[in-house]
Assembly symmetry: C2
């Protein structure tokens, strides 16, 4: 097939396609099929609708773009290069998927400026989109004034069949529909091919009808390969619907233009191969050598720079008006955008003494959240339908709902994984919001990938996980975490805290709030615990500290975490003055301390150590040769009896310690 | 309100309600609300429809009942006691949620005979229901004859709002609709209350419309509190639809009968309290003391025993006919039901020599699965849309699809969590099927809870997880597992294998197939690996063994797993004869060996050890003080370069070993 002279739009679209084809070919690795099929919708979106400034990817009021089908990242890199992002020059396109490049195999926000979130694990991106739209709605309600709509951007998502099959997308989109997020517009690349083949082998549901059931506005563009006006009209119609999120199903051909591989799963995740690249060039009438973009197309794309500068300038003018009219609000927003916390915020953290009421750390967490809400207007979060158990409700606020987006309590519903991705997105919105998400610790299993992505993508989320051991009692082994604390400690860059009392809970929040580019997970007790002599916010923030010391070099160090720390303290009283008790609420923060401090707490020479933690022994080898642990599943029984059954009593700690003291 | 003399049906329904009320009250813990509201539908289902034999809960062709809303387990225990299950006498009802009872806080199949699956984590049960219905459809297609429908049972599920909010239910139900599982009937207890309050705060989607979009037959019983005929008619209509699963939305009042707590979240998860129990007795005209069931009601319920015996007898007669007409099929089914493997099956396991082709363990896994398929007709599974990458497709069979349920390749779609629960249910169907489910190792994060439940509920699933390290290369850190092997080892009762070569892969399958009540997870390489001198199926089955020994007591033990084992072997060659190389594909199986064997492989006295594994060091403290590990996220680069960057080269192993040898 010989193509006549191409229109400018065709040139632009084919420029995207061939950058993707050539980059995947050079890497001999990657996913050309999606960029080739989705190039038309992406071009229309970026060219006619998206408001962004390539030269300032951090401009607050930019429209957000999320490629939920992250494997198609060459689509995004091509658009970023073409529209003039400095982070993706042509050289980086040529280094696609190579060590040290800015163009990794899936979009990584922490590596490539202008990429909003990290996608690839399917469904995360569309759930992130819901979270970004929630952040926008919340900020708009917090800051906008009738005469100054300073927060006013859209969130656009491209997602694929795989995203729509994943449960996480259903969770988030159901919530998005409930919340009526009118500025969320998702383009569903309906190419009916996944890795196993045609979607007819596993995925024959009516996606649009499902989204209608969620309360979304839905449309269908039947010819997404060339009906640019149809795509544009659909996006316009979606923008016109302000009380519902929009799904635009755009039917496309995966690998469009490849004469032998289009519409097959062979083009999903592998380079086309030299012959097929040539055949595709011929099919699409593309005479340019590899990586070359026709000047007309590049000139057209690069108008985004000027357009973006103009958009940002207009917004800056508006924001200047806002500053003069509403200086207090403006100051708050500027502080939030800067990533700075208000001076003295940490004074709000509750402080306890041994005389303070014995209480569950989940309750102390609730008190802390409520205290922080007063000084940190950026705090915004909630629970996956366990607010009364997780103690996460902010009493000074109401529910974040349609018509009251200024409120701060998010009702996530029983949707842990969706919650996870939403919290990540709120953090990565970059506007200073501090998200928190809560469930039972055992149900981190439902949201592991989102927690992992919070760490990978440097999202400063606070994960509030209560009911942190068999001590939760009667709900039994399905609800009792055993291995969970260990498995969370194993995630790189995630800070895990298991506080022993009120001060340590406050200390954990001190770290969590300060770490704006690293997530912190709190494991909290259901049951009441005494407030310990010697605990403090400062000590807890160090991760581990001497709670009660021996006279001279200790003959044994008892290391406790969370609800077992007080057992160590009581045991030590019976063991005389040879024993040191170390409270170790956070391995990660302890490992951040300098060598001298670490040696002062856990001297290398003292190898006689006993860790006491109501969870698996797995991993404790790093700090203690011996432990009182649970290496089996739990049991349904009242919490006290469950603890006793597994050896979490003062008597047992004393007995084990005596055996080690010889 | 004074109630006139109750009908027998009302007596029966109130018997369920008050057993639940009284048991929760005595335990002062539990969830009375669901049993009180769902008692009518459960009564109609168990009384008029369910075919089961309380005296033989293992009867193969029984209808299966799954309480997906597992927190409402007193509903199930009450029904089991009332219909005459020996596993739940009244004494056990009185011991609800107590240490050592058969009536734990959520249903546990491994503890209470007659409970089919372990539920509680929301959404698992309905996904299990899809899996049970798939098992039934598959067995029916394998074994039924036009004149002998020996496999012919329904799967009934009661699920709640929480189940419907969870992504896992969406995944499984979309697949169930695709597969047209006509004998799956789900009753949705639409009580519009969850823990946080009324579902209107987070869950306002149109559930029935969503299920219609999945391809389900849907109905709505508007008055589930008293319209018993309406419930019965809906179940009849559902049974009449044979090509689609059915959802019956039954609108109920949570805590029905409690004058002050019905229709509030206060009745969801806490005892009513003495006064409210009294008020409820009054409201419902219930004059019986606690735990007392009126004789008329008990007599009526206990007819299930005779009915069940008759049903089973009829089936036995049918099966006797089947045996005489189709002796070979019958022999196979009897073997499968017995849980025995065919004699000599293990001879099908491929054996390799060092001369065998260098290959990826994922390929060797694929060869093993295909070889096993020839001798194990009970093998039944597939991949979550990664069959070409996971190498799980059985070439001797086609896709398990509507109209060809006899085929063995399940196309799960991109639905890892749903796949997990489905595989668990296929194992727990109790008919001898051996399920396997596959995805990339990193995406175990999407299905952690289902993997955990396979271990807890003693489901002999084979989890096939490929692309097991940064060596997968260009897909980058979102796809590269780092902490995953450790976090899976931390799950109690899960056997994890990371084989080094072909023989070890076969050895892993030997264990996995033999362990019919324990799951095994295989972590497999994407990249090619040499077949090692000294590896064997028998050695691998021991979990760890000496692959290459030192002369005399080793001065250093190198411990390798999976794709790093051959690095240890090559390094040892350079290090002279002071070094022992231990291959350790499975910690768990090694820990099952006797003390003498373990000491022979890893002598306590030899503490100078270096573990080499392309994953986190977390947990290795148990076996080796030193390790070459990855404690950060991975990187997008060709696999070889990624391995090199993180130190997985022979040179680096040699260097580290030399440092340790001093």
């Amino acid at each position: 097939m010989v193509v006549a002279t191409q229109s400018l739009e065709e040139l632009c679209i084919n420029s995207i396609r061939f950058l993707a084809i050539d980059a995947v070919e050079k890497a001999n690795s990657g996913h050309p099929g999606l960029p080739m099929g989705a190039a038309p919708m992406a071009f229309v979106l970026w060219d006619r609708f998206m408001r962004f400034n390539p030269k300032n990817p951090k401009w607050l009021n930019r429209d957000r773009f999320v490629l939920s089908a992250g494997h198609g990242c060459m689509l995004q890199y091509a658009l970023m290069y073409l529209t003039g992002y400095d982070s993706v020059p042509l050289e980086e396109i040529k280094q696609f998927r190579q060590l040290g490049s800015k163009t990794p195999g899936h979009p990584e926000n922490f590596l490539t400026e202008g990429v909003e979130v990290t996608t690839g694990p399917l469904g995360q991106g569309i759930a992130n989109g819901v979270g970004i739209a929630m952040a926008e709605a919340h900020l708009a309600a917090m800051f906008n004034k009738p005469d100054c709509q300073i927060i006013d951007h859209y969130t656009y998502v491209i997602l694929g069949d795989g995203c729509n099959m994943e449960g996480i997308s259903g969770e988030a989109c159901s919530l998005g529909g409930h919340l009526g997020l009118g500025k969320l517009i998702a383009l569903y690349d309906d190419n009916h091919i996944s890795i196993d083949g045609h979607t007819e082998i596993a995925f024959t549901e009516d996606v649009n009808k499902r989204f209608e059931a969620y309360g979304w506005h839905v449309q269908h563009v039947e010819n997404g390969n060339s009906d640019l006006e149809g795509i544009a009209k659909a996006i316009e119609a979606a923008k016109a619907v302000t009380d519902k999120p929009s799904l635009i199903k755009v039917t496309t051909t995966i690998g469009y233009g490849s004469p032998n591989k289009a519409n097959t799963h062979g083009v999903h995740g592998a380079a086309l191969g030299g012959d097929e690249v040539q055949a595709t060039r011929k099919e699409l009438g593309w005479e340019y050598p590899e990586f070359e973009v026709p000047q007309d197309a590049l000139n057209h794309f690069r108008k985004a720079v000027e357009r973006g500068a103009q958009s940002e300038k207009e917004w800056n003018d508006l924001f200047n008006q806002y500053k003069s009219k509403y200086p207090e609000d403006a100051a708050l927003l500027e502080r939030m955008m800067s990533g700075k916390l208000p001076e003295g915020w940490e004074k709000a953290l509750p402080v306890y003494t041994p005389e303070s009421k014995k209480d569950a750390t989940r309750n102390q967490s609730g008190a802390t959240l409520n205290a922080l809400a007063e000084v940190l207007p950026e705090l915004f979060g909630g629970s996956a339908d366990l607010a009364p158990s997780n103690k996460t409700y902010l009493k000074s606020s109401k529910d974040f709902q349609k018509g009251q987006y200024d409120q701060r309590n998010i009702r996530f519903g029983v949707r842990e994984h969706g919650m996870g991705a939403i919290c990540n997105a709120i953090a990565l919105h970059g506007s200073g919001l501090i998200p928190y998400g809560a469930t039972f610790l055992v149900f981190t299993d439902y949201m592991r990938n989102a927690i992992r992505l919070s760490a990978l993508s440097e999202a400063g989320v606070i994960w509030v996980m209560t009911h942190d051991s068999v001590a939760l009692g009667e709900d039994g082994p399905t609800h009792q975490p055993v291995e969970h604390i260990a498995t969370l400690r194993a995630i790189p860059d995630l800070i895990v805290y298991r506080p022993a009392d009120g001060n340590e809970t406050s200390g954990a929040y001190k770290v969590a709030v300060e770490k704006r580019h690293q997530p912190t997970l709190l494991a909290l007790s259901r049951q009441g615990l005494p407030n310990l002599e010697g605990s403090s916010i400062e000590n807890a923030a160090k991760g581990a500290y001497i709670l009660q010391d021996s006279q001279g070099t200790p003959e044994l160090i008892l290391i406790g975490t969370g609800s077992e720390t007080h057992l160590c303290v009581e045991a030590a009283k019976q063991l005389g003055n040879k024993v040191r008790v170390v409270s170790m609420p956070s391995w990660e923060m302890f490992e951040e301390q300098d060598e001298a401090y670490r040696e002062s707490v856990l001297p290398k020479a003292v190898t006689n150590r006993l860790a006491v933690e109501a969870g698996t022994s797995f991993g404790w080898g790093r700090y203690a040769a011996n432990s009182i642990s649970i290496d089996t599943f739990g049991t349904s029984a009242p919490g006290g009896l469950a603890l006793e059954k597994f050896g979490f009593t003062v008597d047992n700690v004393v007995a084990k310690a005596k055996a080690l003291l010889g």
